[in-house]
Structure formats: structure tokens, C-alpha cells
Symmetry: D2
């Protein structure tokens, strides 16, 4: 038995109980009683029967309707925070005489009992997944009551950053031999290019030139956290349609030179802000490099979610200063069905690409980062903006958000760290010549048009 | 595929890399450079190459000799604590105007960067096990420099309480089909009744009336955290020798009425104080109840590690006040080879049992808890002191620490919670009539002799 | 690790190579060369490179078109049979002086080299599955050339009876956690009540009151040999529609009293005549009895595939002698859409049930067995014909083959052996009173109408 | 899930029942009754309850003492052979008019019902292993009653050649992560260089430059059929002691150029004559070549079991004709403790090697094959006799059987087939120049001395 199968064997001997609360496990418990159970669980009295108490609480939480859930979160905010008086004393004690002892007291008192509550809820079978769902339910309420509920959310996110540490995550391939119960979740979670049927799913998983990988947490083994879909191709594809075409010839893996990450989806709203996408992409790239040695290039095929909105938000004055071909492009993409006309498509090309270059290289948020969220993600990971593709995605969604543009981000593994640092410290955008050369001359600097 | 095998399958697809740094992975790195790598890892610049950085640091740490290790811990204490000035400001701000904003700032600044450092070290393959070893190396230095190193230890323990949450642990049976690489660790870790040979190990695992269970962490699947050995018997055994006798007839499991937990061993000094023993005992009891329905009684067969030392520490005045048979017992157990004489054994019995009853029921630490550490553990779990056994362990060790006494703690599952609470809140010691009736009359209250 | 996971672990360490030739592994080899390779493989010279030779031959066979395949089978018949002259000598030698030596020679020479050829073809990765497919390809040719090709088929069937011995088969549950690659085969193989979509499949596998089990051979682990679908119900259902109704309330398994085997499908034509259905049903019944202790009754819900054809084949004279209600039923079921009229349905009931009773209890093949093949299967397994259900299956197929009738066969485990023997030796049909009482009075004995 | 883990998962869902009769499952059944059960099992009446009947018979067989077992085998010989009268008729019918029909009848009647009996015994859980043990018990009786019992043994061997077809066997690595229950069998089965302790076992399995592989049958997953131990070395070692030296430096696998098969052991006497050793060696060689690409040479380090006996059997006249150094060697190895004297060791070298060359290249059995059984095995596999090593094994056993000689057989994969054929058809012995050059001049041809 290899060291790997030690792990497998270890886990095969575990009762389902250890991670599964039961799909239908709910129990009506009145809110005050539920709060009482929570208090009991964090008290020392809760230790001996923690597993049962935690399971009861989680079943009770599941049965809450939205209004009740919001009130429960308020209770968690109000009754499970640090003891303010004690904390004030500790803060004063530290401020007046800083040192290990006062620091330690301060730290201890500053940690809200809520964190211990969440850790003990995790004693219940399936607790981890339930606590993730708890944050999922909390997030909508945050918008209207951030001041009160924010600390609850802080505690959950803080906990998840520890629990879902990449060191604890397991990457596994998703393929046509994967259990249907997981595959149906892949269909449901796919967030970039929707999967309509099992046959479409099969097209993305079964052919020899397709790969898919997901991160799992050992305590939630039936539900992926994030997954990425990869196409092995000869060259960098120019459109998503060519990648997904079921009639394309299947490439023998050893003839593939390019791995295209064409879709990456987070699966759980409750884990928002707990980032593992960067780790997944890099590990997949490294694994593929080893198992498919012919691969030379690792790129994404990515949407440009903010382009259309950014363009629509340009001021008339800004538009005035654009190049002629840019104005022409704006006019064309304003027409309905422009993609049906090859002539219009060609006419829009130079201007649209020029605008896109401005969008990526010049349009910045107040913090100096690009306005495009996908660009921020990949550039932050150390990738380079490699190519902008006209009519890369002419689905309704692709036209609505990006007038059909798609882009590649290139993961050049040896340079990823350096690019990450330049982006992190200087907000320096790594872009290929092919992209930078699309920028119009210096006369039309972005500041002028934004 | 059952939900259970989902978990198994999930894990079988993982490369060893994800949890294994390599047995021999060390690299000499000078201490200043190592500290520099640590700073780099916690900085934002460390994100992109965190996995590699973390692995390098852990290899470097492995290569440190003890003096270097102590200096590294000092660096962790001094350079990776909270920013004192900022924390002082935050403490003052909170003290003067408590509220969500000042609280949140205070909490954020109070958390030492060390914690983030440890979390990022966990990115390395095998990181979890390495960080446990880190604390193992730290503990000896603590004794002579608690003030400086204490906060480092606090951070590790705090982290481990989150990481090794029982909800993340997996219980698995250890039996004669377990891989040899794990079994050799069982031999090494056994802390109560040493296992001298593989044949002795076989005797504890293979017979139909023996069970053993361990907790594992999914990130350290080849190394148990804690394990318990169980004998299935007809009645509560009177001595450890009768349990371990290789010549005893093997009992058919369905004839067993009693499950005897005769050895429980923690495996890693680095996890000291992160308690899972209570969870293991209770889960094993519940599982056995289901799989061996004939079982009625769940008891330990436990050593009494503090008895001889306590007895030796009694003052002459205290001894004076003892009952006659107690004094006689003290005299007898002072003779060498007394256990070889049946007459002496019988003569010592009443006095020794009486002294033991005092020891368990009257001898208290300043906090009001029993002085016996094993008693504190099981009573704290909600067990009851059920029986005290004369000549229960007449091995050299058993005589040295307890003049041959052993005890049973009874886990009566329906009453465990209530007993736990009574012990936790009132330090109330649950003891059977058989035990309490051993106490000598009221004239000799413990206070008098201790 | 349990003994079970020993098996699992054993097999997890096997390279795919050991059982998988590759989906697309074909190679054009001219027929004479292919025959030459076969001769070489059975010769002693083939031993050293048997694995490669066998793989080459199987790839070559795959590439054959039908005409070539038929010629290959003819070659196998003609060139790989026993040596006729030698066999004649051996037969004469045995006939003239029977004894161990002449017998042993006779047996050795009587075994066709084909059998050794097939055994050696099995050396190739995936050989077992390929040899099953070989028989699948052979079967159609048999119809027109049984004399020549029959011995080839005999040899394959004889081999399969040894290789697919129930002792080598593995039963496993098929559920919603089963890999999609296997589930798509379940959809394809379902022979009784077709599964149109993945959602329909899910309805048969995922609900708590559904079960499905299949037999696999360890050398063909990705392809079931036979599977049975089971519904857990309160009572014996009266129609297949009620069983398959997706809107039915799901029954908690511990409330189930009846296990209904409503579909059993053989998966491979190449294994025709190698019977494992009886073993599967009995093992499923025994396993369910243990895991769902509330189950009391094990019945099938079975089609009546021969009823309509039998009825249509009755002679006018035979029909003349039927009871009035039987004639009426014949008239009604001859009308289109009769099931749409509750009045007609009711009017047809008594006559149709009476005719069905004749069909099951009186219509016999020359060998004295019932004409209904499903009845022969279940009665041969030791089941009892328990109930005949009017309008049990009013799908187009159900009406066409059985005018909507379905039946239950009851597996009363303690009586299965005795009923099997009575059927095997006396052709005695076990039928409940509910069924036998449907037979019309003695005046209309079956002989009269058949 | 990979195709491989499909297999694993398939098997993990199997109850132990499907392959395990139980270690202690025996039941006293009187011999006549046992014979009756066997008759019943082969009859059609046995079908319905075959699983139970088969289990009962196997338990009964286990309980038989040797005398009873011998009588049972006699019953199997006498009552479960072909019907002689019918077979005589069939033989005559075929002899007088050969054709498919008479052939088919002849074949059917010539097959003894014993074969069907054994196949049905295999229905029992654990049947396969039990039937192997049956043959193990039969073999000793064969020596004194081959005429009567031979046909029973023929049937079992014939069956095993089908059941234990290499296509059904699974190769798995044996290492330090293998379950102890299997490792203790490795200790017990090791037939070439005994393993005295678990520590010695560890030395053969755990170091990075050691490998061990075994064949298993899926129906006997806890018990290997055959295993081979391999050392990865820089060069071909000159002695077994250097291979087994626990103090040797461990070689990094990627520095290894040679794989030395230094021990190969069959595990079950009941499978004698069912050969899989050749397949195991070749598959291990191929697998190692792929996983350790630095390997260039695959050799055995083999004993020479027949050398001393052959030498002792030389006639005085034959000895007379030997070369002078040969006579000197014979004299030296006749002295006790000669290996303790370096001078004697050196003095014996040329003569002993010369004698060994005669032994391997000239000493033949009547069928023209070498007298050395290990030589017949490896040469028959297509290996070449590569080197003869003086003082290769100076253990007591090595001296007793071969005066300390060991040899290498070289597996040169591309030439294995051709050498196998030359040996199979011409009894041509492939030997290196290093070996053939040891032969003394033509004057001393083997015929003269043997």
C-alpha cells in the first residue's frame, strides 16, 4: 500500500456519520431555546455532550425561516461577542503597561466566544458544511445591517481561512468516472459557461483532450469547493465556441501543446473571500506539466465581465477624445445583430481591441488596480494578460457583458512569482506586446477618456 | 458507491505530495536567512510562491540543531508578535470609545503575525505534521524561558485547537490488517503497558475479543494522534495481567458483556493540551455498543500514577492518624517482594484499599480537583470511579507508582453528561458505593492526614 | 483495515492495464495472418510472449468486419478442434480397454485446442471482456450455420461457466454515488422498463426507498453483468406505474415491509445462457433482509412477455370452449384504447385474469414447462407465482405483449429450495391460492383450448 | 475516479462473505453424509441452495482427519468420474462416425462430474481458497496411489489452470505499508532466504532500494500466490550477503542500474504446477523499467539447488577424468570450514567454476534439459545464464546444496521470446561468454564424467 492509499484506507474506514448531518435533518426549535443551546454549547457544561448539542443546534438552524435566521444572527452578534467591560479593562491594562501578560489577557478577552461556538458546532457530523451554509445565509442580511452583523461574518471568515487552508484541501480530477452525485453539482455550480445537459457535461469530461479538477475539503467530501475546466489544444483557441464544439476532432493528449483553463467556478457563496482559486490553477498547471509533458503553454480563456459596463459609463467628453476606429466600434456594437454581419465584425475589430486595451491597461479603481475583476484575479496570481480576442464569445451573455471579447491570461510558471510581486506592490500590469501594442498613441491617454 | 467511499475515493486520488514533506527532507539554511524567509512568507509578496517558501522553511527548520531552534523560537517571539505601538493605540481607542469599529481594529491588531505565518507554513506538503513537531521542539525550551516563548506556544496551541477540532478527526480501527508502517508506531507510542514485540502486538490486535481504535487527522494519515486498546470480556477484570495473558481463552464477541479500555496513549508531544481523548473513548463506546450489541458495561482498567508518591509524601503526623490496617499496609508495601507472599498480599489489602479511597476521594489539588491525573481525566469526561483493585498491576512500574493498585472508571453513557457537569462545576467526584464504602470512618477525614 | 478493504486495497494498486485493452484499440490484420497468430499463441512458442500476442490478436479481431469475423469463426471451428484421427484412436483405445490411462488420454485429446486459445487470449489486458464480445459476435452467425460454428460456441459457453462462476462475481450496489460511466451503462442495458433520461435514472436510484444491485466480474470492473432494481414499499404494488411514479411519497426504509424486484436486466449478449440471475436475486434478498430488518416480503413485479402471443395463437376451436367472460375479455382487449374506459377495464378483468391463470398453469412447452419465459426463470429459482395483476402495465409495450397484465413472483426464502426441486424434477408450478382460484372450472381444461 | 479506482471501489463494496469462509469454520460431518452432500450439490436439486451446500461441504472437509480425507478423495475418484458405460458408447459412436454431434456427445460425457462439483463448491464464500487447500491435501496421497487419485488431481489442476489464468491475477507491491496480516504470510512463505524477524522483513521492504511484488487472485485477496523480492543496485552483486547486508548504504532509486531478483517464492502447494512465476518476473521487469528509468539490467541472484548432489553423484571414473583444478576443488569443499580460509577459497575457485559450467551446460536429464530445476525455470522463461559466482552464498544451506555457488540469470527483455523458443524447441541453453569460457577444453566432455 502506498502512502497515498494509506490516506484512502484511513478514510474508507470512517462512518458516514463523521461528516454528514443528513440531507433532511431539521428540527423545529424555538429561537430562544436555540440561543440557549448555543450558550450551553460554549459553556464548560457543553463539553461532555458537545457532539449531540452541536447536531441539535445545526438541525434547529436549518429549520429556521429567513426572518428567524436574521434574528439568530443578531443574537450571535449581541450575545456572543467579547465581554466589553472586561475587554475595556484589558485594553487599558495593556495600554498602560504593555507586556506578555497584559497582551495575553487582552488577546484572550478580545476573541469573541462566537469563535468557540463555531468551533464546537463543528463537532457535529457534517458540521463543517453546515457552518459554511450558515455564512451563506448570513451574507444577504449583511448588506442592510453590516454594522451589527459584520463581526459575526468576520469571525466566520477568519475561521474559514484557518479551516480551508490550502494545506488541508485535496485536489481530485473530475471525470466521467466521478460519482453522479458530484457531477450533478458540477452542472449546478458551473458559473461561467452553463452546462445544460448530462450530454454536455460528458462532452466536457470524457474526451481525451479534456480535464477537470476540483478542490475538496476532507470534511465535505461529496461537495467540491472550486473547480476548473481545462481543454488540451494544439494552439491557443480564438473563441469559446471552438473549445466547446462537440463536433471538433478530439486531440490525442500527447499532441497537445496548450492547456486552456476555460472555466473556473467557486461552488459555495458561504466561502466567498476565502480564496483558493490561485492555488488550484497553479497546482493543475504543475500536475498537467508532469502528466502531459508535451504541454508548453498554460493560458486561460477568460470573460471580460466589466467591459461593456465600463464602455457604457464613458462620458460624452471622454468618447469625444477616442480614436475614430474606436468610435466606429462603439457605433457598431450598439446595433442589434452586428455579429451576424462579417463586414461589421471586421469593421468593429480594431476599435474594439483598442478600447479593450484601454480598459485593461488604463481603467483603474481608486486603489490603482484594474477595474476588471477577472483581470485582478489572474494578474494578482502572477499571470500575464496575453491576448484580447475579438468575437471570442458571441453568446447573449458574452455580448452583453463584453461585446463578444474574451482574453487569455498566460501562466508562465517561472515568472509567476515575480509578476505577482510587481502587481502586488506596484500594481504593475503584466501584458504581452500583442496587448500593449493595441493601445492607441499617447495622445489618447486613459485619463482623458475615463 | 456509498457516501463513505466517496470520501475514500476522494482521498485515493490525492498525490502523496499533499501531505508528505519527505522523511529526509532537510536543508541547511542559516538562521538569519531562515528568519528572512519567514518574514517573506507572511508578507503579501509570499503569496504567489507560498507553497515553495513554506516547504523551504520547514526543511530549514528540520536541519536546525537545538541551540539554533531555540534562537529561532526567540525570533518568532520577538519579530512576529503584534505591533505593540499600533496595538497600544488600538487598545486606547477601544477603551475610550468601544464599538464595532474599534473592536474590530483591536482584534485585528492583537492577532500576532505568527499565526498567519503558521497558517502559511501549512501550505507546504506535510506542513501540518511539521508544525506539530515544531511545538514538540518548543516545549522543552518553555520551561526555562516561559515569559519570552510562552506567546509562541500560545499561538500554536490556539491554532491546533482549531485544526485538530474533533469534527476534522477520523476514527479508524487498528487491527492486524493495518499497515505495518502504522503498527510500528503503535508499538512505539504505547505509553501505558509497553509492547515489546510484534507477537505481543498481534496478541492485542488480532484476537476476536480485542479492539483498538485511533484518531487520525486527514493531513497526517500515516500517523495516529491517539489510540485506545479495548478488551471484550465477560466481567470486569481484576488485573491487567489477566487481560494481557496470551494463554487466556479467546471470548466470542457475542458473549462479551464488558468493554475494557485498558490503555489509552497520546502519540504526539506537540499536541499536548489539545484534548481528544474524551471524544475517542465516547465514540468507541458508542460504536462498540452498536456493533457488539451484547456489551452492557464500558469501563477502563486504569493505572493510579500518583498514589505511591502521595503516600510517600504524607507527614508523620498524618500517618499517625491513620487506621491500624492502613499503617500495616504501609509497612508491608515497604518490604521488598511483598507481592510474592500471599499472606502479605492479603494482609495489605484492607489498608491499601482504604488509603486508596482517601487518595481518590479526599486528596485534592488547590483547585479542588483530585491529585490523580488519570482520575481528573476520566472524571472530567463524566466517568465514575467504579472499583479499586488490589494487586491489579504488579509489574515493576505498577508497584513503583501505585503499590500494585489499579482502578476502573465506568462510562455509563446516559449519565456521562450529568456527571461531567457535576465535576466541572462542583468538583463532585462520582464514585460507586464499592469505592466510597472503603473510606474509613469520619474520624479520619483527609484534611487530617494530607 | 478490514478483510474487505484488503480486497479493495489489493485492487486499487493494480494498473488499469490489467483489465483494459483500450476503447479504441484496433489494428487491421489480414485474416490469414490473424489465424497464424492464433496458431502461434496456442503453440508452446507462444508462451514467452503470450501477453503481447493475445493483445495483438484481440485488436485484430476488433478490426474485422462481419464477413471477416464469420470467416474467422469458421477457421476457429475447423483448425482449432481436436485432432480427429488421434481422437478416434483414443476413443477406440478407451472403448476396447477402459481405464484411467485410456480415459486420461481420451479426455486430453477430446478437449479442443480452442479452449486453450481462449484461455491464452485472456492473458491480454482486457481480454476477458473481449472474449465475451467475441461470443456476442458469434451468436448471430450460429443461426445459419449451427453445425459448423456450434462447437466454437460450446467452448466459449463452457469457459464462461467456469470463469463467471458466481464464486468469482462481486455484488455491488448501484446508486446515485456510482460513477457516471457505469450509470450510463445502466441506462443503456435496462431491458424491462426503459430509462429515458438521467432524471429518470435518478428517480430509480437516489430516493431512500429505492435500491439497485449488480454483479461484476473483477476483470471487467467497469461494466455490470446483470442488475436488479428494487423498490421498498409498504405493500405489494398493483402496477408498475405506481412504482415508478416520481410524485409518490418516498417511504422511510424502516417503514418498508416489501421489497419489489421490478426490473432485472442481463447486460451482455455474449453471456447468454450463463445464468447468474438466480444468485443475484437471492443474495439481494438476503442482504436486504439484514440491512432493512422491517422487510417481510420479497416479490417481483414482472412482465408477462408471452401472454398476448399465446392468446393470439389460440385456435378458433379452443376459443370456442372458453368461458363467456374470457371471450368478452378477448373482444375488449382487441379494441383500441380500451384502457381509457374504466368500464371496459372492469369488464375485461375477470376474463383476462382467468385466461392468464390458464396461460400460467396450463400452457406448457413440450418439456412440460410453462410457455412464459419469465415464469420459467422465477419458478426455476424456487419462487411462487403469487398474484396476477390486471392493468399492471398499460404502457404500449405492456399492452402489446400482455394486454396490460403483470404478475408477482414471491421469493419465500425458507421454501425456495423445496419449490425449486419440485419444479426441477416434477415441473410443479408453485402458485398461490389467489392465482389458482382464477382458473375456470374443470370443464375447460387447458388441453381443450391450447 | 480513474478506471483503476473503479476496480477498487467495486471491490470495496463487497462483503467479506464473498471470499472468506471463516478461519475456524469447520463442522464434523460423517464421511458418507459428506459424500451424499457432494452428490446432491452436482445434481440439479443442488442448484437452489448451492451456496449453502457448498459451504457445508467445505466446512465438513476441513474437519476431516488425514485418513478420512484420503477416503474422501477415493470417493471423488470413484463416484464422480465419467459414466464409463456411456462414455464407451460415446467413444464407439465417435470412432465409427466422427462428426460434430458424436464429438460433442463424447466431450460432454468425457468430462467428469467432479469438475462440476468443484465449480459448485466455489459458490461458497471463500470456496476458491478452500479448493486450493483441497489439492494441497491431496498431493501427499498421490505418491502412494497415483493410479486411483491421479484423475482427481488432473481435474483440480485443469480447473486451476483456467481459474488462475494470469489474466485474472492482480499484481501488487508488497511494502512496509502492506497490512501486517499479509506481511506475516510473506515471512512464512519465503522459501529461498528465510526471514527470521519483523526487522529483517522491514530491511527487505522499507528501504528505498528494495521492492517486492506479488500476484493475488481477486477471490483470495488476503493471501499472495507468489512473490518476488528485488534489490535495486548499481552493479550485479557478487553474493547474497552483500544484498541482504542491513548495514549497506541505501541506494537512491534513480542511481540504480540493476534490478536483482534475489528471491522468488510460490506460496501454495495446492497450486503446484500452475505456473505464474514467468509472468510475474516479466511484469515486474516491465513495471520497474517504467517507474525507475535508470534501470538497465534485470537479473536474478539464484541458488543452484542441484549442484552438490550432482557432484556427489559423479562416478569415480568420471572424477578421474576431471581436470586437476576440479579435483582440487572437490577436495577442498570436502573439508569442513573451508570458507573460513581465504587461501582455500581462492584455491577452490577455478575448479569449482569449471565444474559448475559442466553442471549447467552438460549435465542433462533424459529429456535433454538441464538437471538444475532453477535453471530450467529461468531458461524456460527465456533468460540467459549470465554469471556463476563463487562463494555467493556461504550460509549452511548454500554450502550444503551448492558449495556456496550462486548464479545470475539475465532477463534481456527484447531477446526473451527468441531464447524461450530456442530452449523450448531445441533445449538450447543461453549462456554468456563468461559462463561458456569456464568450461574446460574439449577433452573433458560431459558425457565422460557424468
Amino acid at each position: 500500500m502506498s502512502r497515498v492509499s494509506l490516506l484512502s484506507d484511513l478514510l474508507s474506514s470512517i462512518g458516514a456519520r463523521s461528516w454528514f448531518l443528513g440531507d433532511d435533518a431539521t428540527r423545529r426549535i424555538a429561537l430562544p431555546e436555540l440561543a440557549g443551546l448555543c450558550h450551553r454549547l460554549v459553556s464548560s457544561r457543553g463539553e461532555a455532550s458537545g457532539v449531540r448539542l452541536a447536531a441539535d443546534i445545526l438541525k434547529g438552524v436549518r429549520a429556521l425561516d429567513d426572518a428567524e435566521a436574521e434574528r439568530l444572527f443578531a443574537i450571535l452578534a449581541e450575545e456572543f461577542g467579547p465581554d466589553e467591560a472586561a475587554l475595556r479593562d484589558a485594553a487599558e491594562a495593556f495600554a498602560s503597561s504593555p507586556g506578555p501578560a497584559t497582551l495575553s489577557t487582552l488577546q484572550r478577552i478580545a476573541e469573541p466566544p462566537r469563535q468557540e461556538l463555531f468551533r464546537r458546532l463543528n463537532l457535529a457530523p457534517g458540521g463543517t458544511a453546515e457552518i459554511v451554509r450558515l455564512r451563506e445565509r448570513l451574507l444577504p442580511f449583511l448588506r442592510r445591517d453590516r454594522e451589527r452583523l459584520g463581526p459575526v461574518e468576520d469571525d466566520l471568515r477568519h475561521l474559514f481561512q484557518s479551516w480551508f487552508n490550502r494545506g488541508f484541501l485535496l485536489m481530485r480530477p473530475i471525470d466521467w468516472n466521478t460519482p453522479a452525485s458530484i457531477l450533478e453539482k458540477i452542472i449546478r455550480y458551473e458559473a461561467v459557461h452553463a452546462i445544460a445537459t448530462w450530454e454536455e457535461l460528458r462532452q466536457r469530461l470524457a474526451p481525451a483532450d479534456r480535464r477537470c479538477f476540483a478542490f475538496f475539503h476532507p470534511s465535505i467530501p461529496d461537495d467540491p469547493l472550486i473547480f476548473v475546466e481545462v481543454a488540451l489544444t494544439a494552439e491557443i483557441p480564438a473563441s469559446i465556441a471552438s473549445v466547446l464544439d462537440p463536433a471538433r476532432p478530439v486531440l490525442a493528449p500527447d499532441a497537445a501543446q496548450t492547456a486552456v483553463f476555460y472555466s473556473i467556478s467557486n461552488c459555495h457563496a458561504g466561502l466567498a473571500g476565502v480564496s483558493f482559486g490561485s492555488f488550484l490553477i497553479k497546482q493543475v498547471a504543475e500536475d498537467l506539466k508532469e502528466t502531459v509533458p508535451s504541454l508548453k503553454t498554460f493560458v486561460t480563456l477568460s470573460p471580460v465581465p466589466g467591459f461593456a459596463a465600463w464602455l457604457a459609463g464613458l462620458s460624452p467628453a471622454g468618447i469625444e477624445k477616442l480614436e475614430a476606429n474606436e468610435k466606429q466600434a462603439i457605433a457598431i456594437v450598439g446595433e442589434s445583430d452586428w455579429t451576424a454581419s462579417p463586414a461589421k465584425v471586421e469593421a468593429a475589430r480594431p476599435g474594439l481591441l483598442s478600447l479593450a486595451a484601454r480598459y485593461f491597461l488604463r481603467a483603474k479603481r481608486p486603489d490603482g488596480r484594474p477595474v476588471d475583476p477577472v483581470a485582478r484575479f489572474h494578474l494578482g496570481n502572477g499571470a500575464m494578460l496575453n491576448r484580447i480576442m475579438h468575437v471570442g464569445d458571441i453568446s447573449a451573455g458574452g455580448l452583453a457583458q463584453a461585446h463578444g471579447l474574451m482574453v487569455n491570461y498566460l501562466y508562465d510558471l517561472p515568472r509567476v512569482e515575480q509578476r505577482h510581486e510587481a502587481f502586488a506592490s506596484e500594481a504593475e500590469i503584466a501584458a504581452s506586446r500583442a496587448v500593449t501594442s493595441l493601445l492607441p498613441g499617447r495622445g489618447s491617454a486613459m485619463k482623458d477618456v475615463a
